[in-house]
């Protein structure tokens, strides 16, 4: 019997090239953030000088602080709303307006950001809302809760529903069954959803540009206006710090999901 070779040389080459393409630019960026030379392209030895520069750059620090606050607030609200939406969609069976509801939840996932940003700004202007922290937070929540809903919903879809039913047969009311049985099982997805919402918010330039007001720029807005003027070593340092922060977030997320999935295994073999 002739077997199709499982892993050809072509497969290995395309994988290696693909991963190199994905990682090399970021590695180069990180490396050059430690470059002592002001010229971005000349290697002048190791140095932390650009990190110093960043920590003395008041406007940048303020923007970073604003971004962090928005990211934490919007990710938390989005996780709450997104999880509720996922529960309704995957356990609510049929209900009135379900099609509209799921449509509204899937559309922002692919909707061009310029449209989302513009429409929210027009709403805020019409409401005469003062633009700043809260308007950006609302805008980011609207976008990221859809991602949370998708992540949590796919986890809920793969759960064995007989567990919930067993809890209720044993006398739990539905809310108790959900809190005691379902919630611990979908906890990893909820954590992952929060992390995703957090990084998406930290990352967003377009929607924040539309919905923020004067004097409350987020970090991407500051970085963007600097980058338009050209490459600066300080930006490399800031980008490296953001990458490090996100790396920490990912590690915590994967540890949390490992922890809760091993607990879940002892409680219920899934």
């Amino acid at each position: 019997m002739r077997k199709v070779s499982r892993l050809s040389r072509f497969n290995i080459a395309s994988l290696a090239l693909g991963l190199a393409f994905l990682y090399l630019p970021i590695l180069i960026l990180v490396l050059y953030s430690f470059n002592a030379s002001r010229l971005v392209t000349v290697w002048g030895g190791w140095s932390l000088r650009w990190y110093h520069e960043f920590f003395n750059d008041r406007a940048m620090i303020e923007a970073a602080w604003m971004s962090l606050r928005v990211a934490v607030a919007s990710a938390t609200i989005a996780t709450l709303l997104g999880t509720l939406a996922a529960v309704a969609l995957s356990r609510g069976e049929r209900f009135r307006g379900r099609t509209l509801f799921s449509g509204m939840l899937y559309a922002p996932l692919v909707m061009p950001e310029v449209i989302t940003g513009l429409s929210l700004l027009l709403l805020f202007v019409a409401l005469n809302a003062e633009r700043g922290f809260w308007t950006v937070t609302i805008a980011h929540t609207t976008l990221t809760m859809c991602f949370v809903a998708v992540v949590v919903q796919s986890r809920l879809g793969s759960l064995d529903r007989s567990l919930e039913e067993a809890a209720m047969d044993l006398g739990c009311d539905p809310v108790r069954a959900f809190v005691a049985v379902t919630l611990p099982l979908i906890a990893p997805a909820i954590v992952a959803g929060w992390m995703l919402a957090f990084t998406l918010s930290l990352d967003d330039l377009v929607i924040a540009s539309f919905t923020t007001g004067p004097g409350s720029a987020t970090l991407p807005i500051r970085i963007y206006s600097e980058v338009r003027l050209g490459v600066k070593p300080e930006i490399n340092a800031i980008c490296t710090l953001v990458i490090a922060l996100i790396a920490v977030v990912i590690v915590i997320a994967s540890l949390a999901s490992k922890l809760s999935s091993s607990q879940g295994e002892s409680a219920a073999p899934l």
Binding site: N11, Y32, M111, V114, L120, L122, T142, V227
Partner: protein, 304 residues
């Protein structure tokens, strides 16, 4: 079974809060975009007229309604700048999506053929760059592509070119940026379908004497079409409205519609035209958006 139905009732109540939120901050804003797209620019705050004022009484409201017009849409259709911008957006998105498919498919295929435990590692490796900021990834490429950047240094050192090549502000740079940013979106759905595929099917085709390219073309590729569809839509739709990548990497002589909208809004302060441009962009994207939504729903609800 009955317990399943009992569970459904409180689950439906869970919809209330997110439902209200999405109606308020997703649906209602579109009504505003639509209304302002039918208004005229004005030197005022807010910079358009008419402004609906519910306290002004019925007649003022009627007058405001009468003042709405489709002039902005006529402008969009008749002015070359906008027509070109839409055509360019669609061409760029089409070209970039084809490139993404050509580059992403072999990578996803390689992943699907890895031993089981390596597949999980490869998947994490593909997802991680998606978590790092969009803007940072574009900035990383500016570092590499600039006049005395790494790429030119390498090319010069290898004597492949005698002078630094201009990479920045070209379409090449823009396509590199788009492919780099959207590659995970293409790879993941492709990998998901390829990994589920039964290897016995390919083996059977090979046993019956099909050369490898025929095995791929007649068996593997047709079976992976759902993944191709998801990946293509997931990339194509946002690329059409892309703003950051063309703005930072491409030249300024041919703008995409996302850039035009941004320019009208922030630089020219013409909110009505920007709103009309957004509506047209949405209409252009309606078919792919609906296709994508159906695909997503079918995938998620299959697990139910």
């Amino acid at each position: 079974m009955s317990s399943r139905r009992i569970f459904a009732r409180p689950a439906r109540f869970a919809a209330i809060a997110p439902y209200v939120w999405m109606v308020l901050f997703f649906l209602v804003p579109f009504a505003f975009v639509l209304k302002i797209s039918l208004s005229q620019t004005a030197i005022a705050q807010p910079p358009y007229e008419p402004v609906f004022d519910l306290t002004a009484g019925w007649d003022a409201l009627k007058a405001a309604f009468a003042a709405l017009s489709v002039d902005n849409f006529k402008l969009l259709v008749s002015d070359d700048i906008y027509v070109f911008a839409y055509v360019r957006s669609l061409t760029v998105a089409l070209t970039a999506t084809s490139l993404l498919l050509l580059i992403g498919y072999p990578i996803a295929y390689g992943m699907a053929r890895l031993p089981q435990r390596w597949q999980a590692v490869a998947m994490v490796l593909v997802i991680v760059p998606f978590w790092t900021s969009f803007l940072i990834r574009i900035y990383a490429w500016i570092n590499i592509l600039q006049h005395d950047g790494l790429l030119n240094q390498v090319l010069l050192a290898l004597h492949l070119v005698s002078q630094p090549v201009v990479w920045l502000s070209t379409d090449t740079a823009m396509y590199i940026g788009i492919v780099y940013s959207y590659l995970p979106f293409m790879i993941l759905p492709l990998y998901a379908t390829l990994a589920k595929m039964e290897p016995a099917l390919e083996e059977a085709a090979a046993d019956l004497g099909a050369p490898p390219w025929q095995v791929f073309w007649l068996v593997t590729f047709p079976l992976s079409l759902p993944g191709v569809g998801a990946g293509v839509l997931l990339c194509f739709i946002p690329i059409v409205g892309e703003f950051v990548i063309p703005d930072l990497l491409a030249g300024s002589n041919a703008l995409m519609i996302g850039q035009t909208l941004w320019l009208e809004f922030f630089t020219n302060k013409d909110w009505p035209v920007a709103s009309a441009a957004a509506i047209v962009l949405l209409v252009v994207l309606l078919v792919p958006l609906l296709l994508y939504e159906r695909l997503q729903k079918r995938q998620l609800e299959r697990g139910r």
